[in-house]
């Protein structure tokens, strides 16, 4: 599942982001990667904003990062068992 569909306050592990070494990454994808959305990193969705249930507040590599729905939909995650 992607971040916008994942459960709150659980340890999630990033799967398949960025997709591959060869593909050219967009500015947005690159920024996501630099913030720590990377294969194998553990993240946590802390909150959804009121009103429209987005953006998402995500803890990643020691940071609190706000992601819009479209941005959150780029990152595949899995609930850590």
């Amino acid at each position: 599942m992607t971040i916008d569909l994942a459960p709150l306050n659980q340890n999630l592990v990033v799967r398949s982001f960025p997709v591959s070494e060869e593909r050219h990454l967009s500015d947005l994808e690159s920024r996501l990667m630099h913030l720590g959305f990377f294969n194998g990193e553990t993240i946590r969705i802390l909150k959804k904003a009121p009103l429209f249930q987005e953006p998402f507040l995500v803890e990643v590599r020691g940071r609190m990062v706000a992601l819009s729905k479209e941005e959150a939909a780029l990152v595949l995650v899995e609930v850590l068992a």
């Binding site: 500015d27 690159s30 920024r31 630099h34 904003a49 009121p50 020691g62 609190m64 706000a66």
Partner: protein
């Protein structure tokens, strides 16, 4: 010797810069871009030893934003003005996991660095113990622990800088294909691995979670309380702008009228007296009166920014604002522009996306600035009967109309921003993606400094144009003279008014009205006195407002006056707005476009109103 402070956003770099340079600093823009350039000096015994630059925060050398590109230019030593002799890399001790990225990236490229481990007071409080020697060895750089908040370690940092006195930065050659490399997942992951390894090796006792920020966020981002706090704060801004600044504004008005009276008695020559009193003092005073609002607003915004709240507000408003074509961060500028468009446009600096910032600037003139209130008040008094609505004694027609005018501006701003969102050239994708900083207590000194800078920008950049336009308008309404007397009907202003009369005739405006509209280019509120001038209603006399109102109805009729009201909802803002927008958008094109589209809207809608409300 020039030293550049470099680091990721939110590592306390600017606080450190303030501590290092004290009052010896200057804020300007980097040439060609509206990226703030902060320079300061470190002075010892009255002699400058270093020039210090506070570079915009940068996440990595894979620069994506304008701010980051400016910083990257410095690292690459592209031009002489964009170069430094030594880089001081600022790290956040409470978040090494993130801030070490840049350290490794720069080390790998061979930059000689002086590392400043900032915020150590906080990290120690939260239990972090580090093996500094291990860090030093691994990063190959000297590390100074500092706390900008208390000033701890700042002397050591300056001493360490002195040890590098006279050093020249070696020429750093970037690897071929570096742009591709910096964005390569393998490369990025490699650095993550190095950071994780180093932190495992050098952490003697781990950092506790930031329970303070978490506790505040529990309320501030709460689905119910969070919105409540946000609304309360926005209401407070409104209150601040309208009520709290009023006494200071009265004082400024009093000062200028005092100045005008004194000048009147002191200056013998009638013409020079008129120039100084009516042209310069009244003209400039009419605009300076907004300075308290501008300063209070910036105090408030900076306070929220330093506290760390502004990002949270944007986080909460983003999904709503995005649906109307604007980013969440546009909330503050749009709200501020209800006081005055100038602080609103200046406040758009918080929006990083160039296109979204432009759209916000373009729709700001549609919000109802406070200078329009006197005009609205006179016109509403003239044409709207003071009757109760729905039989409710407390709900009066005039109030409802005033509210309607505000809503009209607000709704128009939404519609126009939706149109611009669809039509304006697309440059870079709109991103929310932002880091929310931990909460920090704002420092009064920093707030005061920012306010001073904003005041300076407003006075120097807008001030010159305001003075010029005031004098030009004075000239137009005063000349030519007959026997040393001004006859308004024969003045140049009336000439201009008569020239435009055919254009405005469909709206029901004659030359007197078009003449009265001319001074509104300088400031909205002078329209009232201009109207009284052309209609020969003596200002300041008893019952002046009633008299002006009844004269207006008699001369122009309800339809034209309603058209005038609508005209003022949409008509281009004053010349100061134009000047500030020219500066902030760094172009002449966009302010001209703003004037063109608001003029078109104003004319068409006023015309429509005139047609609809003129009894046939």
């Amino acid at each position: 010797m020039r030293i550049a402070l470099i680091g990721m956003p939110n590592v306390g770099k600017t606080a450190l810069f303030n501590k290092l340079t004290g009052s010896f600093q200057r804020v300007a823009n980097f040439p060609g871009v509206t990226v703030e350039k902060k320079t300061g000096r470190i002075v010892e015994n009255g002699k400058q030893i270093f020039e210090v630059l506070d570079l915009p925060g940068i996440y990595s050398l894979d620069a994506t934003t304008l701010d980051e590109k400016v910083t990257k230019d410095f690292l690459l030593q592209k031009e002489k003005e964009k170069s430094a002799d030594l880089f001081v890399l600022v790290l956040d001790a409470t978040n090494l996991e993130k801030s070490l990225y840049l350290a490794f990236q720069l080390r790998d490229l061979g930059y000689p660095l002086l590392i400043c481990l900032n915020l150590v007071d906080e990290s120690e409080k939260r239990g972090l113990k580090l093996d500094i020697n291990k860090l030093k060895a691994e990063l190959g750089a000297e590390i100074i622990s500092t706390s900008a908040a208390t000033g701890r370690g700042v002397k050591d940092l300056i001493q360490a800088m002195k040890d590098h006195l006279g050093d020249k930065l070696p020429r750093i050659e970037l690897p071929e294909n570096h742009q591709k490399t910096f964005r390569s997942p393998r490369y990025v992951n490699g650095i993550f691995k190095k950071i994780d390894h180093l932190l495992r090796e050098s952490t003697l006792s781990p950092l506790a979670r930031d329970s303070f920020s978490e506790a505040i966020d529990h309320w501030v981002l709460h689905p119910v309380w969070g919105l409540f706090i946000l609304s309360a704060l926005l209401l407070l801004v409104f209150q601040l702008l309208f009520s709290w600044s009023a006494p200071i504004q009265d004082l400024i008005e009093f000062f200028f009228s005092f100045l005008g009276q004194n000048a009147s008695t002191l200056i013998e020559n009638k013409l020079i007296r008129s120039l100084i009193v009516d042209g310069v003092i009244n003209g400039v005073g009419g605009v300076l009166v907004f300075l308290p609002q501008i300063l209070l607003l910036f105090l408030f915004i900076q306070f929220l920014e330093d506290l760390g709240y502004l990002g949270r507000a944007a986080f909460m408003m983003d999904s709503f604002m995005r649906r109307i074509g604007l980013p969440g961060k546009a909330v503050i500028p749009l709200l501020s522009s209800h006081a005055c468009a100038i602080p609103g446009i200046l406040a758009t600096r918080v929006i990083d996306n160039h296109r979204e910032r432009l759209i916000t600037m373009l729709v700001i003139p549609l919000t109802t600035c406070s200078a329009r209130l006197p005009v609205y008040a006179i016109l509403i008094a003239a044409i709207i009967p003071d009757t109760a609505v729905f039989g409710l004694p407390w709900l009066r027609m005039p109030g409802l109309v005033l509210f309607g005018l505000y809503m009209m501006g607000f709704i128009s701003a939404i519609i126009v921003s939706l149109i611009f969102k669809k039509t304006l050239p697309y440059s870079s994708p709109s991103m929310l993606l932002m880091e929310l900083p931990p909460y920090r207590i704002p420092k009064f000194k920093n707030l005061a400094r920012v306010m001073m800078n904003k005041a300076k920008i407003f006075l120097t950049k807008a001030g010159g144009i305001i003075l010029l336009v005031s004098i030009v308008i004075w000239f137009l309404v005063t000349f030519p003279q007959q026997n040393g007397e001004t006859v308004i009907e024969d003045s140049y202003a009336a000439g201009v008014g008569k020239f435009f009369e055919p254009v405005f005739r469909p709206l029901g405006f004659d030359w007197r009205m078009t003449t009265a509209l001319i001074p509104s280019i300088a400031a909205r509120e002078v329209v009232v006195s201009a109207m009284s001038l052309v209609l020969s209603v003596k200002e300041g006399s008893e019952g002046f407002e009633d008299q002006l109102a009844s004269t207006l109805v008699k001369e122009f009729g309800i339809g034209s006056l309603l058209a005038l009201l609508i005209w003022f909802v949409y008509a281009p803002q004053c010349v100061s707005t134009f000047a500030v927008m020219k500066k902030e958008s760094n172009s002449l094109k966009w302010p001209v476009f703003m004037v063109a589209y608001t003029l078109t809207l104003a004319y068409l809608l006023a015309w429509l109103t005139k047609i609809l409300f003129t009894p046939s």
